[in-house]
């Protein structure tokens, strides 16, 4: 689909009411998988691992192997349900979702069907313009993640035309909670921003609970976005599409905007929307048709005979409820006060989805103002340029270390930006980059004075000018010294030294 076939967004909203729905998958960061004692690649500090090294007979669906539920995953799921304002089911059960596809070796996924662990909740989502939207949660259920397929052959490397597929089952069995919203209407023009803000809110909640690493670029948090358009005044719901593979906050917003514009153009031209899965393409900012919703969605769910019901006691639920972190809205109020930000400064952080990053950076020792400056400034700029989320570029502890180097005078802002580049390029911690690239500020006054003398010798009239009160003339010397020092000098200190020299020389006369 070319952009020519898109309707202008404002026009689309004028003609149609967008109705949204989200399914967010959260990988829990337990030490082991949902139903087996294999190490969890989504655990803190873990990675995807070498192929098929984090598997047990259960992960491979080998005959005779039996699943056993991870108690910590149950506790995490209940905590998440409670944080989403859900009721926790006194009894819930696992079910088999049957489908024949090699990302799970059993030919079924253990999930929950008609008896999810949590249901009927709501979260308050704050939009960039200050509006708050209540998003109702239909259910949150537990399931296992699937293995990772790599399609080989074919022209594009995508599944169409692939010759064969390679399977790594390390991810098979990672504990997941799927959060399903009710239909969200009334978002109107704010629909794309609401989508981003909703996923950001879920991310903030799971991070605050400490139950997921929540790195979207690693697939710890994944969003499927449903969009349909209802012609204004028709009172009829439109046909929905489900866009998958949306793996950054920024893409969630873009994907919703694109789907609204695409569907509006088709409907306005008298066409019909096909109920289908659509794939999001980060590079082109478009979606393309996947498989139609059809017979393939016939999953023949039935209760999982290898597992027993989960019946959390009221005491357990209350224990977990009392341990919940403060609700996001209260947390935002508290942080704003603690950091002393203006409304605008704080909104800037929230809208950029950087609250967690700034908070963690402050916790790691940086001042709130510096933490905000780096995240919403240089880091956000680079992230935007590379079309990635800022949080994927650098860790809060590295940002705090960088800020500390600037505050101690070891780096100027300019040098710090170069250090940041190095950290993002994977050259190590800020201290490592300073060391490797030799980026320390020249804080040796002797070296600076030598450079100043050289610059003054080249422009002998400058001292006179300064003495005559034309202080701005010092700029030429400062420029020359900074150049001689390859930028690795503190300009404020150079200025001080130049002025000292001028006045000092005056006193000698």
């Amino acid at each position: 689909m070319s952009t020519a076939e898109l309707m202008d967004f404002d026009k689309a909203i004028e003609l149609f009411e967008p109705v949204l729905g989200f399914e967010v998958h959260v990988e829990l960061n337990t030490k082991t998988k949902m139903f087996s004692s294999a190490p969890n690649p989504a655990a803190p500090g873990a990675d995807a691992g070498e192929p098929n090294t984090m598997v047990t007979p259960v992960c491979l669906g080998l005959p005779g192997s039996l699943p056993v539920v991870n108690e910590q995953a149950i506790r995490f799921s209940i905590s998440l349900g409670l944080a989403l304002g859900c009721d926790i089911a006194p009894s819930s059960r696992f079910a088999r979702k049957n489908y024949f596809y090699p990302d799970l070796a059993k030919n079924y996924q253990i999930s929950q069907y008609d008896e999810p662990i949590a249901h009927d909740g709501a979260v308050e989502v704050e939009l960039p313009n200050g509006r708050t939207v209540r998003v109702e949660i239909e259910r949150a259920h537990m399931e296992e993640d699937a293995g990772k397929l790599t399609h080989v052959g074919g022209a594009t490397g995508r599944i169409q035309g692939a010759d064969y597929s390679l399977v790594d089952y390390n991810r098979a069995g990672v504990p997941l909670v799927e959060i399903v919203t009710k239909m969200i209407s009334g978002a109107e023009h704010d629909a794309p921003e609401l989508a981003k803000a909703y996923v950001s809110t879920i991310r903030d909640i799971v991070v605050a609970l400490g139950i997921s690493e929540a790195r979207m670029e690693r697939g710890n948090l994944r969003c499927d976005a449903n969009v349909s358009l209802s012609p204004r005044g028709s009172g009829k719901l439109g046909t929905r599409t489900e866009t998958k593979n949306v793996n950054s906050l920024r893409s969630v917003e873009r994907a919703i905007r694109f789907e609204i514009q695409r569907q509006a153009a088709i409907l306005a031209a008298g066409g019909t929307i096909i109920q289908e899965t659509r794939h999001w393409h980060e590079d082109s900012g478009t979606t393309s048709a996947g498989r139609p919703k059809s017979d393939a969605d016939d999953y023949r769910y039935f209760p999982e005979p290898d597992l027993l019901p989960v019946e959390p006691s009221a005491a357990l639920i209350e224990e977990l409820r009392s341990a919940l972190p403060e609700p996001p809205a209260e947390r935002r109020r508290r942080l704003k006060d603690a950091w002393g930000f203006t409304d605008l400064e704080f909104q800037d952080v929230v809208n950029s989805g950087l609250l967690v990053e700034v908070e963690s950076t402050v916790a790691a020792g940086a001042s709130p103002a510096q933490a905000r400056k780096w995240w919403t400034g240089e880091i956000a700029r680079i992230a935007n340029q590379d079309s990635v989320d800022p949080s994927s570029l650098v860790s809060p502890s590295d940002v705090a270390a960088l800020v500390s180097l600037v505050e101690s005078g070891e780096l100027t802002d300019r040098l710090a930006r170069q250090v940041l580049e190095g950290v993002i390029a994977g050259e190590g911690s800020p201290a490592d980059v300073v060391e490797k690239r030799g980026l320390k500020v020249v804080s040796d006054d002797g070296a600076l004075i030598a450079a100043i003398d050289e610059a003054l010798a080249a422009q002998p009239d400058i001292l006179e000018k300064i003495r005559d009160g034309k202080v701005q003339a010092a700029g030429a010397v400062i420029g020359a010294v900074m150049k001689a020092m390859h930028g690795q000098a503190d300009a404020a200190r150079v200025r001080e030294l130049v002025l000292e020299r001028a006045t000092g020389s005056a006193a000698e006369r």
Partner: protein, 104 residues
């Protein structure tokens, strides 16, 4: 299967199930299975005759719940063990036919 007692399953349903399970069946096989699976369904259906709405479905003979495992990593298979039953492998991964479908 007599004409007065038609199979509770028709050929189209069997073809649909075969398609879901990615099993290629000939028309003869579909016809044969429609009859055979019908008998099984009828036998199982006997249970419904005694089930009443106030009796919850039983998934386990003994009333048990909350059987959990502590979140402690255990032994894993080696790559060689994991792949020992693979019909085909490519490096340390399972090699399977490309299937037009997608991750769920």
């Amino acid at each position: 299967m007599s004409a007065t007692n038609p199979s509770p399953l028709d050929a189209a349903q069997v073809a649909h199930l075969a398609n879901l399970a990615r099993i290629a069946l000939t028309p003869e096989e579909i016809e044969k299975l429609t009859g055979e699976l019908g008998v099984i369904i009828e036998s199982i259906a006997k249970v419904s005759e005694v089930a009443t709405p106030d009796v919850p479905a039983t998934s386990h003979p003994i009333r048990l719940a909350n059987v959990f495992r502590a979140d402690v990593p255990g032994e894993t298979l080696t790559v060689e063990q994991a792949l020992s039953g693979a019909p085909e492998r490519d490096g340390d991964r399972f090699k399977v036919s490309a299937i037009l479908g997608e991750e769920q």
